[in-house]
Amino acid sequence: MKAPEFTYERPTEISEALAIIAQDAHEKAFLAGGQSLLPMMNFRLAAPKTLIDLGGLKDLKEIVAVEDGLRIGATVTYSELGASALVSEFSQVFDSVLPHIAHSAIRNRGTIGGSVALADPAAEMPAVLIALGASVELASQRGTRFVPADEFFHGLYLTERSDDELVLSVFIPNSSRSLSTGFYELARRHGDYAIAGVCISDDSRPSGSFNAPKVVLFGVSDRPLRAKSVEESLVGVARNDTRKIRSASEALSDLVFDSDLHNSQDTKQRLASVCVRRALEAM
């Protein structure tokens, strides 16, 4: 199980990386942490002709507080996220989520930008970013743009990113500081991809009830799913009203769930509902 041949580039400037990807972009791939891309290449499920290693781009490794929020460079690793006081200050959700992402040795290499760009539907980070109202900063020789996380994920390994675009950063707005968040996932074994999970945010601190919750499921479809009916049912519900929370968490019939190797669509829906309720009850 060896990766096929490729050529290897290690740019030291973002402009250089963008120049390399500008030509024949569909045959090239950016290498960030490599924790998903390299196994896919070892299985020969992915065979880019050129790998562009982002390890030399220092700008992508930074976590910076800017005027309207927090800019997390694309190649910041999960371990670095977990160690950052700045990140914790912006949202407690990272501290809840990170221990569930694979294992220490993977978190030491795996990056936030890589997770976003890959868009594995079972990954936690896309759902977290949607819940936080984050956006993804993309750059190409054609220019730079910000795409809201809510609009970024299109399907299984499909995103708004064009082949020639590089994820520069993930931007978390200042508004996320005042969100309360909930997180729950079900994985057969610690660190496995979840068979169902949810990340929830809401600016509900002042009133004691849910105001404008965002409920984002993962691991149950080909992309992170906003559970809009759940969100609507929750508006105005007191956070300690377990009966209404239970009923809201069952409002999933507007969504289409995908089965996986071990679980049917029905099971996925049922487990998603449990995750939603448990996450809500813990908020």
């Binding site: 060896k2 050529t7 290897y8 390299l38 221990p99 220490s104 993977i106």
Partner: protein, 159 residues
């Protein structure tokens, strides 16, 4: 053999300069090019943890890194884990608890155990089990490994 690239890397304290095929992953480089066969390969897709080594002090899956990615970095394998401090204590405790059978997972398991002691260091069985959850052992049942790590932490605390 396709594109090659010259890399300079400090492996177990020894400065190494090699031309390496860019597609060669770190585990194959260590095993086949440098003869450091203590790093074991169990799955080549980053799940089993047998190939865990330290790069610049952090554990990584050496099957999920290219050799060219360790250019200018420091790599420590089981052969280079200093036989002092927590590593030595872990080896003694693994022996005393019989925390290995076939020994195939052991180099990766030790790398993770050292990381746990350095980063977390609590004699908490649940936390230890969680930290080891990316290291697959088919022989022991894990309990003796947890016991050994607890032993080392407790002795360290008593000192």
């Amino acid at each position: 053999m396709g594109q090659t690239k010259k890399i300079k890397v400090m492996v177990n304290g020894e400065r190494i300069e090699r031309d390496v095929a860019v597609r060669t992953n770190l585990s194959d480089f260590l095993r086949n090019d440098l003869g450091l066969t203590g790093t074991h390969v169990g799955c080549e897709h980053g799940v089993c943890g047998a190939c865990t080594v330290r790069v610049n002090g952090q554990t990584v899956r050496s099957c999920l890194m290219l050799a060219v990615q360790v250019d200018d970095l420091e790599v420590t394998t089981i052969e280079g884990l200093a036989d002092t401090g927590p590593v030595s204590a872990l080896r003694d405790a693994f022996l005393k608890r019989n925390a290995l059978q076939c020994g195939y997972c052991t180099p990766g398991m030790l790398a993770s155990a050292v990381e746990y002691i350095e980063k977390i260091g609590e004699p908490d069985r649940k936390k230890i089990r969680e930290h080891l959850s990316g290291n697959y052992c088919r022989c022991t049942g894990y309990q003796s490994i947890v016991d050994a790590i607890c032993d080392v932490i407790q002795v360290g605390t008593e000192k």
